[in-house]
Assembly symmetry: D2
Homo-oligomer: 284 residues x 4
Amino acid sequence: MNTPTATLLISCPDQKGLVAKLANFIYSNGGNIIHADQHTDFSAGLFLNRIEWQLEGFHLPREVIEPAFQAVATPLNASWKLHFSDAVPRIAIWVSKQDHCLYDLLWRQRSGEFKAEIPVIISNHEELGAIAKQFEIDFHHIPITKETKLEQEAKQLELLEQYKIDLVILAKYMQVLSADFVSKFSNVINIHHSFLPAFAGANPYQRAFERGVKIIGATAHYVTKDLDEGPIIEQDVVRVSHRDDVKDLIRKGKDLERIVLARAVRLHLQNRVLVYGNRTVVFG
Amino acid sequence: MNTPTATLLISCPDQKGLVAKLANFIYSNGGNIIHADQHTDFSAGLFLNRIEWQLEGFHLPREVIEPAFQAVATPLNASWKLHFSDAVPRIAIWVSKQDHCLYDLLWRQRSGEFKAEIPVIISNHEELGAIAKQFEIDFHHIPITKETKLEQEAKQLELLEQYKIDLVILAKYMQVLSADFVSKFSNVINIHHSFLPAFAGANPYQRAFERGVKIIGATAHYVTKDLDEGPIIEQDVVRVSHRDDVKDLIRKGKDLERIVLARAVRLHLQNRVLVYGNRTVVFG
Amino acid sequence: MNTPTATLLISCPDQKGLVAKLANFIYSNGGNIIHADQHTDFSAGLFLNRIEWQLEGFHLPREVIEPAFQAVATPLNASWKLHFSDAVPRIAIWVSKQDHCLYDLLWRQRSGEFKAEIPVIISNHEELGAIAKQFEIDFHHIPITKETKLEQEAKQLELLEQYKIDLVILAKYMQVLSADFVSKFSNVINIHHSFLPAFAGANPYQRAFERGVKIIGATAHYVTKDLDEGPIIEQDVVRVSHRDDVKDLIRKGKDLERIVLARAVRLHLQNRVLVYGNRTVVFG
Amino acid sequence: MNTPTATLLISCPDQKGLVAKLANFIYSNGGNIIHADQHTDFSAGLFLNRIEWQLEGFHLPREVIEPAFQAVATPLNASWKLHFSDAVPRIAIWVSKQDHCLYDLLWRQRSGEFKAEIPVIISNHEELGAIAKQFEIDFHHIPITKETKLEQEAKQLELLEQYKIDLVILAKYMQVLSADFVSKFSNVINIHHSFLPAFAGANPYQRAFERGVKIIGATAHYVTKDLDEGPIIEQDVVRVSHRDDVKDLIRKGKDLERIVLARAVRLHLQNRVLVYGNRTVVFG
């Protein structure tokens, strides 16, 4: 389906008639729903829904959809977001020294797997500037020290502003973001090189080796002020054995990190991830 | 959610307003939708939907829901089925000599994983009669030969009638059902001991060993007149290596068969599987 | 290969000629090696080996093999164990109230997957006595309270003595063994219902649900005095989604627990697991 | 372990003393074995072994090892190969129009995952010449038609000669090699975009979609004169659902193809794969 669509991600207290109200809003305005998926979290008494319809033939002009739907959403105490499939989000990739996730993300964007622009790469090290150059993407080197962290984060925020960034991807950016930063820019996806909550924090592969686990994993999650505690978007695992030393775990982990991060980014870009509390609903 | 619910599985040519029409039917009659999941197969121009709502507070008495919905469905050229969550389907398990799937299904039913009754076990051999006795389930031994197949199938159909069977599970029943039988009783789930379409037919493990595959699988599917060609409900796989001989493949396969069959049966019993053409939509 | 074999599990400081020394001991005594697998942990400077040979045609009588090999092992500072394939280990299964692992282990032993005897089931509750009866296995109900734990453990040790038990399987035995017990009987395999080290301790499924993980796991490990910290033998995982509530996680987990525990027990019974430090080498 | 090692891959009819003979050859010449792994295929009566030792301190000069070992191997009717870990194999990557496997292989080689040189890329299309240029690798465009196939294969063989190629990787090279070619250059690894033997031949993803499978796979195998029938080195799979159309299968398959091919190449480069008949022993 390549005609443009609108997608509504909505959550509100559960009550009768919610599906009907949403469907009627779209149908009465001439929209054709192509995806509708609902989840009810009974423990939270919460209704969560993703609904996507074709804009072709829809009577409301784009700029009117939001105010028009607001009239439906307000009485429901709903929190919601509207997305258009032909919008092209702008991504900033943050890295340190490792290149595997960066290469992978760039290849996927170039090959059309990601419908997004990647205008800038930010790093606390200089090494990966060459890749940015190779792909003709702006590169900003912003070194971080305990002392300079806050002022450097101010610079980073300026860049996000300047480049009109919608999403930050921490592609093996080995720095913690301050609570202050996250409060100012919250749309950040991180790839953690372990099967969280196992081995949260530093050197997960070393610790996995020492613990003698038979499986290792990787976790893509939204970044919150609590390190490695953010809502999980995607995880995957791979078997290891006594024959794998720490170097092997790191190598196998790289493949996991690339794929888990890529899946999470794609789900996010397709507006399939709905966060509530510290959990996600992923509308497959 | 333990209050009784109604579930509608429906497929029809895609058109505008389908979600609204379904939701309004339920809402206008006072129903609270707890699950709604839609899929559109654009290549087939088909709308497929599963919608589940609480019967508590629903204005229509159960016996009226079907005729009432028929009025909605007819103009849509929809094919649909209505299910009630507190109905208890009756299952006949068919086996030959292997007991692993039979034990597993019985354990799951006893432990409450399956909301169903299992009043009868049918086998072309006598061996597993002891298990039926142990679980106090009727056991019918119906041997099959080329010559007697058709008349024996007539007996089997009588038993399904007599025991008011809704679903037949071929739990390693090593016989092919005739096209005639399938045309008369179509609600049959089979577990095939390979990753279909690989190694369709006989001796899949032997052939998998000879081919030197590194992964083996199992497939649960609805039975059609074409052997091993029916709509697939669930598949899963497990790694094997050169250290595994045919006996090891068979042993590892047994665990796969048990779990894949159990998942498929559970999905079917929860009315989550919608068949169209030779494919299934599994509403997770 | 159904003729009896001897298996040597050995670990010692790495040095030249170890493989030759082991192979020559067997060859010079007329043995035919059918499996030989070596691992060297360079970080630990440790040589670890599993070697299995046919006893048919081996010149040394069984009772002489140990003293004869001791002469080889002593100069190597080796720790080692000798096993005969036709020995039939005796297992005590310990349970509480959940029956899925118990049923699974009993079925596997009956079906010949485990070459072992299961003369006794011990439980801190009475519920599963019926299953013991059904399989005609002695059942001992030994309730545990904080106050009675130590004296009850003394009873348990007596029973292990009395039944000549080689291996204890904690098949969802929801009690911690005291350090004192473990020091007296160390051959204990436990199934933990999480992907350790994630969610060590109590209520892993509840905590997994709250954390919103996308994958859950199970872990089979040898029991040590440190709860959930023992050497891991086997792990496996299964995907979950936002649609799975805690009850679903528990249900999916049961299938994992059964299979992971069964694999670990089988590896142990085949003398394929070599423990060193807090790690295992699993000779596949 | 970064000091150079020698690795022996050997298979011969099973008999007593083989491990001892191999180990003694190495030990008596002052070698330290760091890996030794044996497999016996009893159905074939075949002994298969991989043994790796440090060259440091080994008394035999490299050029003497082969003739010296020949004296051991001949009486055993053994077929065997000797490899040195510091040898750097030369790889030719063959492609058509798809770039995902090519990018992946080049990234892994650059990042040190593959210890090999990649001096040349050969393609029947011109599209990927730009990537060759970007990585400063020779690129040869050799278009293939039914009519020109044989003469073009002659050119390809010349290039393999000219570049001293040890291994050809068909990284989505959508052409069949003639039996004649394979007889002249047999060291060829192919990635097939299905879980062989399922969907052998053309358009596997289309056919997988039509069959409605719930899992798709990829297979890396050595190329033989029989299309898609060569010895399998590695396979892996990924789940799909009714929500995945053919394009999604292709996208998901690309990730599988990259990883399965990379694993197979790495195993081959580490001399861990021993082919016998149409099967492989992969010494993990």
